[in-house]
Point group: C2
């Protein structure tokens, strides 16, 4: 082989290498069991590229797929009737997913289950570079308490989960400020203390002295009066969540727990639909709250037009001096990879605030979309500003 | 038609009726959505015979089955690619089940999920005639609190769920007795406050004045020292649960919550494996507890031989006077349809107690097997005898 032949071979290899790197053969084989697997389950697994590999025994199936982030990946069947395969690299953080077995969309029997996307189903965790802030650490831990109550407004049993900070039970005197923290659409009151890790985020912040001890109340943002369904227009029944929160949840919490029951010690925040709801609620109730956090959302969603402060939320942002005086923190957060509608509506809100001279804090979560790692980071940032 | 012909026809109809009643054609069409469906899900359904009907879209599947109570029922596919079918009548109460799609055993996407049988998976509720005692009613409700702790013994993070009776939070002085309540094999600390409805059972008992206000602690009965796996004999690592409960859980609970921290105000109970574990624990620690409840189990399980009190639990039942003096209540419960091994071993224990003159209370749950309705009823009965 002469030098020309050698160069040709090197050129050919060099030409094909990048292509073959994109085939399944080049998947990095450093998979480890997912952090949110059921006890004793080996699969699903995640590799250092963020690929998700699933495995399921289905000897008589014709077609099995992994369905994650709206994309379906075909699995391959081995001689033992076991289907196995993996996704493209996923963003860091938590994602909902399911398996599709011959057309049936079902949870993966290997994963733990979470409520989101309107169903209890599988979740997967791609370890984030900054995972430490939401991890279980050797620090004093608060408690999550399930609080059941009957709503006279909706005429049904409801519940919230209440984070009580470390020391709440041992100490019988100390009173704490309260953050009301809401989930997004097609989620429920379980999200923040489960896939959201709100309790661990607060435990870690409190242990490091970065956040004040506080109570966090996580209720269900879906609330309707019995007659709402009949009166629903275009299939959208009128929400009674603001009434439930203001007239029932807050008095119930202030009665049951050792809260500091005044506006100086009350914050509210929410993600996506919850950001939209809670912005409306705080602007209607400035006598009750002094801190607002909007994680991936504002009340101008879906915002086809720019905000007109004369009409937006009944003119609540018209008087900038009043807003600046009443809202000790007006906080907005967004992932850099969010869908356009969120970038646009939150952007419009910021533009309005700047034009009016309304003070706000804006945070960008690097490389995350409209998902839980964005919201964990938002809570981590926002909670540090509260009650100081 | 003469009278003889008529009698023959009546006889023939009478002969075939019972047979045809067992075919699918005679399934009673009064199905209603299961009480433990996911929000908004129509299926699974249950009818007044206790049959479970499931439905799943799986257009390309060859074979779909409902797998409940160890029996598999074939579903039928309609033109829309939807599989539907029902089980034989089931016992009243709660059952774990799954779907089998072309050989893949998966949760039903319509049901809520429970930990049992060693997995998170589907559950179904066949309404019991006596359902009222574990139902959500308009009475004061206690709270379930998740309590995280680090175990020095097992060197890992563990948790228990703690039922705090109505008024615990509002009242800052009152102290309460404590019941330690354990799950069975292949279950975990979530069972009693979820499919067990321990909180609602206690709420209802307390509201009606039938039980004293008490704290209930539900921990995880699986606990192993780090070296246990290496030293495991025949794949059975040595349990460290007794050490964890006595040295870590009880001191932690007595420090954190307003308990009455003495043996007169401490009870212990468990179901199946938990009954076995807790009988051993109380007999080793009579200085700590004075009430025992064994739901579908005793420590002589699996009991191939009759109990010899000289050797059984190191002679703990040898001195009947001491046992009668120390155990204010020795309570045993069993479902009438339990498998032979439980009928036999609990029967052997009762025989031993009678021979020795040891006082005990025995309860039979009518028409239930080794399942949660038996244990809900056991808790309902047992809790009424505590701390009085």
């Amino acid at each position: 082989m002469n030098r020309i032949q050698l160069l040709i071979i090197v050129f050919i290899i060099g030409f094909y290498l990048p292509l073959s790197a994109q085939t399944d053969d080049m998947v990095k084989e450093d998979f480890q069991g997912s952090l949110v697997n059921q006890p004793g389950k080996e699969f699903p697994k995640v590799n250092s590229e963020g690929r998700v590999r699933v495995r399921i025994e289905a000897p008589q199936a014709n077609n099995v797929q992994l369905d994650i982030g709206g994309v379906k990946y075909d699995l391959k069947k081995n001689d033992g009737g076991i289907w196995i395969g993996e996704s493209a690299p996923q963003d860091e953080g938590f994602h909902y997913y399911q398996l599709n077995i011959d057309g049936a969309s079902v949870p993966d029997p290997g994963s733990k289950y979470y409520y989101g996307a309107g169903r209890w189903g599988s979740g997967i965790e791609i370890p984030a570079q900054d995972h430490e802030f939401y991890e279980m650490k050797d620090v004093p831990h608060g408690s999550i308490t399930e609080n059941i109550y009957f709503s006279e407004i909706t005429q049904d049993w409801r519940r919230n989960f209440v984070y009580l900070p470390p020391g709440y039970f041992e100490n019988s005197e100390e009173r704490y400020p309260v953050l009301y923290l809401q989930h997004g659409s097609f989620e429920d009151e379980t999200g923040w203390a489960s896939q959201g890790h709100a309790n661990l985020i607060l435990d870690n912040l409190i242990a490091s002295g970065k956040a004040k001890k506080m109570i966090v109340v996580m209720d269900n943002g879906y609330a309707y009066k019995p007659e709402a369904m009949q009166n629903a227009q275009d299939g959208h029944p009128k929400s009674a969540f603001e009434e439930v929160l203001i007239e029932e949840v807050i008095p119930n919490i202030d009665k049951k727990f050792r809260t500091k029951a005044s506006r100086a010690y009350r914050a509210i925040a929410g993600l996506s639909m919850g950001a939209n709801q809670t912005m409306r609620i705080i602007m209607n109730n400035l006598n009750l709250f002094s801190y607002y956090g909007g994680f991936s959302g504002t009340s101008n969603y879906p915002g086809n037009e720019k905000i007109d402060t004369k009409t937006f939320l009944n003119g609540a942002f018209e008087d900038a001096d009043k807003v600046n005086e009443k809202l000790k923190v007006l906080w907005l957060g967004l992932g850099t990879k969010e869908p356009e509608v969120f970038l646009k509506t939150v952007g419009d809100f910021k533009e309005m605030a700047e034009n009016k001279g309304i003070s706000y804090t804006f945070y960008e979560s690097p490389q995350t979309a409209h998902e839980w790692l964005t919201w964990r980071r938002c809570l981590y940032q926002y909670a540090q500003l509260l009650f100081k």
